[in-house]
């Protein structure tokens, strides 16, 4: 059995899953001051009729990293940057604790200037004077050659310091994003470590000794011990749970759009052949663009409790929420009230809902039912327009080969999956888009189910340069020698071997390691009219998805 727990802002949901089927589920209120108490409460209530010893893994989503960043409960971080020439540092978003040091490598990973140990020693003593214990070291093009980051780190390392290195967090190119990612990783390390201790305590109290996984931003799981060095990967764990929940409750295989309609906002996500899309460069958090692999989601300010008002004879919905629906004694008419009047949901005081909608109806010079209908259709139209806009954006994403430009995959969803309290609006949105729709089963605990069934994801970036006779596994910081004849196929094979090891180390079961090559390119390198080697670039990943149906141990 798997125990999946989604710790949300309001509720903590938990499910017990056996053979991919929900056997029991529970919802408790989240105690923000004591997350552990919520975890324990949910887990105890859920397992009271079941044998705890049948549980062989626990998977959690967490808001700890996101909240630490958004609420600025983070540690002070010294950033040591090996930036070299290029974009002026004045354009980067750097705090007062940024130290620029000599050393940089070029786009091929060839060192141009080395790290200067005396300079790093000076920086080190300044960091000491400022009593900073968390350090980020980031070099330009360090994902092409991590050596200088490693050199600087070795010079800075001591027992009172925790150092995050840029190249370990992503194999992608983007120096400013690498800086932001590394900064955040160092900044939340302390609070995340506390969270991990709490979880381990919870497991002990619960009387278990089984692996615990955390859901990452990309909808994949990682063993909690393995996540200690890369806490930043666990931001956006909650939204990822929502998207994995759609997969878990629908088992879809097609292009689709999923909506999670809440009180204040509606979150839109997109699936291609049943696989949730990832953010192309990395997720953005609190205005910082990062390289963190994360599931694509767009949040818009329309939900069941959005304020409905009339301006110049037009219905406006959101983005404000001023309280619950009028039916629940809220101050303003809301789409939920319209749905109550329309008779597609029923709760609260329908008289109060009707009175609220009547105010709108009067301004529109319509009957109350007509006005309710108009509000629902307007809400549906706003959401449908956003869906169309997002799909156009995704389908118009720049590509860099003629093949992709002419024959690239176009996402053409025909179905809408809708979850959330105000999901009753689904038929109206689907009609506007010309899609069919489905409100999945167990949708009230779908996030927890998504958490429980998510597989371990990982990615590896391989660069081989046969002129330099060198291969690098970017995120691993691993460099090895290769022969002149090293081929694209060799690179893919090497990538798969390392990816498998990495995934197992992160906690993947053998039967859940579905690898795919997401990028494979090779270029002839020609210098002075002679072929001097090949530049090979490969990315291999285990994409987000559900664990396989093989019986749990």
């Amino acid at each position: 059995m798997i125990l999946g727990i989604d710790v949300g802002g309001t509720h903590t949901d938990a499910v017990l899953v056996q053979d991919l089927q929900v056997i029991s589920k529970i919802k408790v209120l989240t105690n923000q001051a004591n997350i552990m108490a919520s975890l324990l409460e949910a887990a105890e209530k859920l397992t009271k009729d079941n044998n705890v010893n049948n549980i062989n893994r626990i998977v959690l989503s967490t808001t700890i990293s996101t909240n630490a960043i958004v609420q600025n409960k983070i540690s002070r971080v010294a950033m040591v940057l090996l930036s070299g020439p290029g974009l002026s540092p004045t354009t980067l978003n750097l705090g007062k604790d940024a130290y620029f040091a000599r050393g940089y490598v070029n786009h091929r990973g060839i060192p141009v200037k080395n790290v200067n140990s005396r300079e790093i020693a000076d920086i080190s003593s300044e960091i000491d004077q400022n009593q900073i214990h968390y350090i980020g070291v980031v070099g330009k093009f360090s994902s092409r050659n991590p050596q200088q980051e490693l050199d600087a780190s070795e010079l800075l390392q001591n027992d009172s310091r925790k150092i995050s290195l840029g190249h370990t967090l992503s194999g992608q190119l983007n120096f400013p994003r690498r800086i932001a990612t590394t900064y955040l990783n160092a900044a939340i390390h302390e609070i995340y470590q506390g969270f991990v201790r709490d979880v381990q305590e919870f497991i002990q109290k619960f009387g278990l000794n089984i692996p615990v996984y955390i859901l990452k931003a990309d909808g994949g799981t990682i063993l909690i011990d393995q996540s200690l060095d890369c806490p930043v990967q666990t931001i956006h764990s909650g939204p990822a749970a929502g998207i994995m929940g759609v997969l878990a409750t629908t088992r879809m295989k097609e292009d689709a759009v999923a909506l999670d309609i809440g009180g204040t906002t509606t979150d839109i996500s997109v699936f291609a052949d049943g696989v949730p899309l990832l953010e192309p460069s990395g997720v953005e958090i609190n205005g910082r663009k990062t390289l963190i692999r994360g599931l694509y989601t767009k949040s818009i300010g329309v939900g069941g409790d959005s304020v409905v008002r009339i301006e110049n004879g037009e219905i406006l919905i959101g983005p404000q929420r001023e309280g619950p629906a009028a039916a629940l004694d809220g101050p303003f008419p809301t789409p939920t009230d319209a749905m109550i009047v329309e008779g597609i949901v029923s709760f609260g005081d329908s008289g109060k809902a009707r009175n609220a909608i009547a105010l709108i109806a009067k301004k529109l010079q319509l009957g109350v039912e007509e006005a309710a209908r108009a509000i629902i259709e307007k809400m549906a139209a706003i959401i449908a327009d956003q869906v169309r806009h997002i799909l156009a954006q995704i389908n118009n994403k720049p590509v860099y080969t003629i093949h992709e430009l002419l024959e690239g995959k176009i996402i053409q969803p025909k179905i809408l999956y809708v979850a959330g309290g105000p999901a009753a609006v689904a038929p109206f949105i689907a009609e506007n888009l010309g899609y069919s729709y489905l409100i999945p089963e167990h949708s009230e605990v779908s996030n927890a189910l998504g958490v429980a069934l998510a597989r371990t994801t990982a990615e590896i970036t391989i660069l081989a340069d046969t002129e330099r006779k060198e291969l690098i596994l970017c995120e691993e910081g691993h460099v090895e020698s290769i022969s002149r004849n090293f081929s694209l196929a060799d690179a893919i094979e090497t990538g798969k071997k390392f990816l498998r090891e990495k995934a197992v180390c992160m906690g993947a079961r053998e039967q859940d390691i579905f690898m795919e090559v997401t990028e494979s390119q090779q270029f002839n390198m020609i210098r002075d009219f002679y072929t001097t080697g090949k530049n090979i670039r490969v990315k291999v990943q285990i994409k987000p998805g559900l664990i396989s149906s093989g019986k749990e141990r």
Partner: protein
């Protein structure tokens, strides 16, 4: 440091799956390191730098500026349609007001493709700037356009297409044709009889560095643009003046390129040549993008940059100053030259031998222009290539006068078809293209 940020559109299409041939300079790898540098510097995350996917040019777009023999279908592949389409996308974004300026970082290039095209020359099949310019005129009704060709090679194709067009100012500065392909582009190539001074050539001595290029810009190009008053300025942006370029001999740097683009302030830049793919292009392109976007480019430089190493000699400085002086004297006289050149002739004839180095084709061409004071003049071309194809073309200019139109239509209807494989009628004013 540039004063004001601008919204810059970037159409980046490196065509990673296309090459002229595996070892050719125009190959898959060409923009690879540029992409790396642009991505690593995080340029695409700036809110004022917007990346767009290129469109695909149509054959009708090509027929507005070329006479392709036998037709554009046979002369182009998807790569050419996308590269020209990328230039068109850049124009659309700028002229619709979505961005302030745009850079089409696309390949393959186009500035060696001439009006009549029997094949590829200088790595170019179709002239992507000219396709874009005719699209701009047709779609947005813009008349006066300036093209500043900053590639190291003479922009002979663009010059040929606009030789008789007084409304398109083609300025090419390039390494002296006596020392580099295509061997043309001297100061006295000054435009057709009705468009004198609308073609400007500024040959520069080998080893010209930043100082020389910027001197030419400030003392010749900018004053000419001020006087010509174009509605839009296009930079035909080759990057092979760089000191590390393997097939040229100049000493320009990434800083120089950025500064040139800041001062020139083109509305649209279109990539042309540049084959120092590892040591120049990544830095030059980052410099140009930052300069166009009005962002600080002062820290952009090549790893091996050394200003002293590449500084031009005093001899080069003297040659350039002299060249600019002669050119400006000619420029001031441009209005008086027509009578001198045309005399009392009603038509002026020009004979050309054109070699297509990429496809190994030789063409012999006779171009006849009607001397006209009201428009660019009717143009008729007879062209025979050693492929066995012989064609005749009648071309009406963009702001065609009634007399030229009447004569052109009449020539087209009367021309004896038996000796030509195709006869073409290109009406740039009414966007009509007929082949018989």
């Amino acid at each position: 440091m540039p004063a004001k940020e601008k919204k810059t559109g970037l159409i980046f299409f490196p065509a990673f799956d296309w090459a002229i041939s595996p070892n050719h300079p125009e190959r898959e790898e060409r923009l690879l390191y540029t992409q790396d540098q642009v991505f690593e510097e995080g340029l695409l995350d700036f809110p004022n730098i917007l990346e767009y996917k290129p469109g695909i040019a149509t054959y009708a777009d090509i027929n507005r500026c070329h006479i392709c023999v036998p037709n554009p279908q046979n002369l182009t592949t998807n790569s050419h349609l996308i590269s020209a389409g990328g230039a068109i996308t850049a124009a659309q974004k700028v002229l619709s007001g979505e961005v302030d300026n745009a850079f089409a970082l696309v390949r393959p290039p186009g500035h060696h493709s001439m009006l009549v095209a029997h094949g590829a020359r200088g790595f170019c099949n179709i002239n992507i700037e000219a396709v874009m310019i005719e699209y701009i005129r047709h779609t947005f009704g813009i008349r006066r356009i300036a093209v500043v060709d900053t590639d190291c090679h003479h922009g002979d194709g663009t010059q040929d297409i606009y030789w008789n067009d007084p409304d398109v100012l083609c300025i090419s500065m390039h390494q002296d044709g006596r020392t580099l392909y295509p061997g043309t582009g001297f100061i006295d190539d000054f435009g057709g009889p009705n468009a004198l001074g609308a073609t400007i050539n500024i040959p520069l001595p080998p080893r010209t560095s930043d100082e020389g290029f910027l001197f030419v810009l400030e003392n010749a190009i900018l004053p000419m643009l001020d006087e010509f008053k174009p509605e839009i300025i296009i930079n035909s942006a080759g990057q092979d003046n760089h000191y590390s370029d393997p097939i040229t001999n100049m000493n320009f740097s990434a800083q120089g390129y950025a500064l040139l683009n800041e001062k020139l302030a083109p509305d649209i830049a279109v990539l042309e040549g540049g084959y120092s793919i590892e040591k120049a292009l990544p830095y030059v392109n980052v410099g140009i993008i930052l300069a166009m976007a009005g962002l600080d480019y002062s820290q952009v430089r090549e790893p091996d940059y050394d200003a002293r190493q590449i500084r031009q000699s005093q001899e080069v400085t003297r040659l350039i100053e002299n060249e600019v002086k002669n050119l400006m004297t000619l420029w001031k006289k441009k209005k008086n030259l027509k009578k001198q050149i045309t005399g009392s002739a009603a038509y002026i004839r020009r004979e050309k031998n054109i070699y297509y180095d990429t496809d190994d084709i030789t063409e012999r061409q006779v171009e006849t222009v009607r001397v006209c004071n009201a428009c660019g003049g009717l143009v008729m071309i007879e062209s025979a290539a050693d492929t066995g194809k012989k064609i005749y073309a009648v071309i009406l200019p963009n702001s065609c006068c009634p007399t030229c139109r009447e004569s052109g239509e009449s020539f087209f209807s009367r021309v004896n078809g038996s000796q030509y494989s195709h006869i073409y009628f290109q009406d740039r004013q009414r966007d009509v293209f007929i082949v018989k």
